[in-house]
Amino acid sequence: MPEKSYSDRFTRRGLLSAAGLAGAGIALPRRGVAAESTKPDPAITEVQDWQRQLGEGVDKRAYGSPSKFEQHVVRRNVPWLTAAPESAANFTPLHALEGIITPSGLCFERHHSGIAEIDPQKHRLMINGLVDKSLVFTMDDIRRMPRSSRICFLECAANTGMEWRGAQLNGCQFTHGMIHNVMYTGVPLKALLDEAGLRPNAKWLMLEGGDAAGMNRSLPIEKALTDVMLAFAMNGEALRPEQGYPLRAVIPGWEGNLWVKWLRRIEVGDKPWAAREESARYTDLLADGRARQYTFIMDAKSVVTNPSPQAPLRYRGRNVLSGFAWSGRGTVRRVDVSLDGGRNWKSAQLEAPVLDKSMTRFYLDFEWNGEELLVQSRAMDSSGYVQPTKNELRKIRGVNSVYHNNGIQTWLVRGNGEAENVELG
């Protein structure tokens, strides 16, 4: 294994730092307990309460929740990032997820004026502008249209946006957690536009939310007619209020801000609206003082979720490295993993299903003997795009871009198994 020689050079330092931390009361990672057991395991020899007593009956949990032992698996906020929780974001606990579907209650939230609680009986969708006939739809109308389901990721354009100037937040939940991957059910936007009848000069749409932010974004007509969906369900049930109940836009592969929640109106026009969220915000300021505008597509990106700062290595010997990769330009074709800071790479195993514009799960089994690791992953997509390093991105974009930071993430794993968000030069 090419990593070996690199690792060997770090072994002594790794062990030394681990020993120092062990003195400070942090347990050294060991081989699995089973391998070292000398006396019987009370988890086996003692009768547990749950083996003796009746548990709760049906109907105690009419809508089930995770085990009480999983209460740490929650969305988390970084309070200093924003002015108030109603105009803020929280983060998906990527390090605690398995497979590719994000449970609805763990999907990160981003609101501009808090969560609108909309009575679906009072919700209307209006289509007007450059159409033959302005139309109004009820939710019942929409549920009578041909529907389909699709799994795709929603990534906030500002995901990893805090990291442009160097390593800032310690955990993939905070560095990469403004993303979720959900099976949406809804109707093609094209069906509604056809119903209204597009005029020949229809080139852009404006999507508008029914919340107090009235969030509005412009969408090119080509995309709208290709794969945009108006979804009323996620992961098999109605949308959660914080995800736009009763109706939201699903715009596969494109930045999350476009996926207008609580969608109430679509206006058809001939030019983009240059709305606040596509001029003063969600534009990418470059080093020369000019800004890229209408940067819709989310480029290929990946992150190792285990190990990571919130998911340290706990055992020497056999370990499973795991993570997510995704691309707004198509499918993930390959993910390479490095344990030595990008000098040597091995291709990870991609777990089926590998879907277009969906998060993809990857694994790499590896042996770890307490040496320091610099863990990275690098995604390649079906367009041939290769996830760049953060320094390669900065060379082109500078450090004031805020949005679209898809650079390669590095975790330093120390001899005691703890991981830290670091950057390499």
Binding site: L81, G171, A212, R276, S279, A291, R292, R343, V386, L424
Partner: protein, 221 residues
């Protein structure tokens, strides 16, 4: 056939062909939804386009705007629109876009004025959205322009003159060019072995020390 008759015939045939093509492409209707009434469209179609389409009739002066701003906006955006806490600054920052810490405000960054009017009317004041009248919105926007040295103290903004205001950063934006400017990222054969020199750690999140405490989990009700 005379010349004009031939031309007419060509036009008729072309017209028929075009009509035929359009008819062939015409999507079938589901018969769902109903026509929106003019009053309904008027109630919701309140957006303003960059060219000023959709601006409501009205006017407001810098002086009127100052009063409204101090009463209804300054608690978040600061008395001089310099921002407060994490709330955005609305004035200042001109010439800072290339600086280490750019200050992106109405004066330094917004490329067009009509979207600012639209945004203010759409969602401000925060927490009491859509509570400003058209005249009040013109006045507040006029005051913001004045704070950014774009208009004089005696200026009155209205639906008639709004689109004549040129914003300082009007030329500061260009369409997404990643596929050309970042072409080198489409590299089908990235290095796999002995790539680059020995990596050196240049920054650490531990030193930044701004991550919320991992031990304290928010209360789950």
């Amino acid at each position: 056939m005379s010349n004009w008759a031939r031309r007419l015939a060509t036009l008729v045939v072309a017209g028929l062909l075009a009509h035929g093509a359009a008819a062939a492409e015409k999507p079938s209707k589901m018969g769902l939804g109903r026509e929106a009434l003019p009053a309904e469209v008027a109630a919701w179609d309140t957006d303003v386009k960059p060219d000023g389409q959709g601006l409501p009739p009205g006017r407001g002066t810098v002086k009127q705007g100052e009063e409204i701003y101090l009463a209804r906006c300054a608690s978040c955006h600061g008395e001089f629109a310099q921002g407060a806490g994490r709330w955005p600054a609305l004035a200042g920052g001109q010439g800072s876009l290339k600086a280490d810490r750019p200050n992106k405000t109405v004066g330094s960054f917004w490329p067009q004025l009509a979207p600012l009017f639209d945004y203010t009317r759409r969602t401000m004041p925060w927490g009491n959205a859509r509570s400003l009248s058209a005249d009040e919105t013109y006045a507040v926007v006029a005051f913001l322009l004045n704070l950014n040295d774009i208009v004089k103290d005696d200026f009155e903004l209205s639906d008639k003159n709004l689109t004549s205001i040129r914003m300082p950063n009007a030329d500061g934006f260009f369409a997404d060019d990643r596929e050309t400017a970042e072409k080198k990222f489409w590299n089908r054969n990235p290095c796999m072995k002995n790539c680059g020199g020995v990596p050196k750690i240049t920054s650490r999140a531990g030193e930044a020390n701004i991550t919320p405490d991992a031990k304290s989990v928010p209360k789950v009700d």
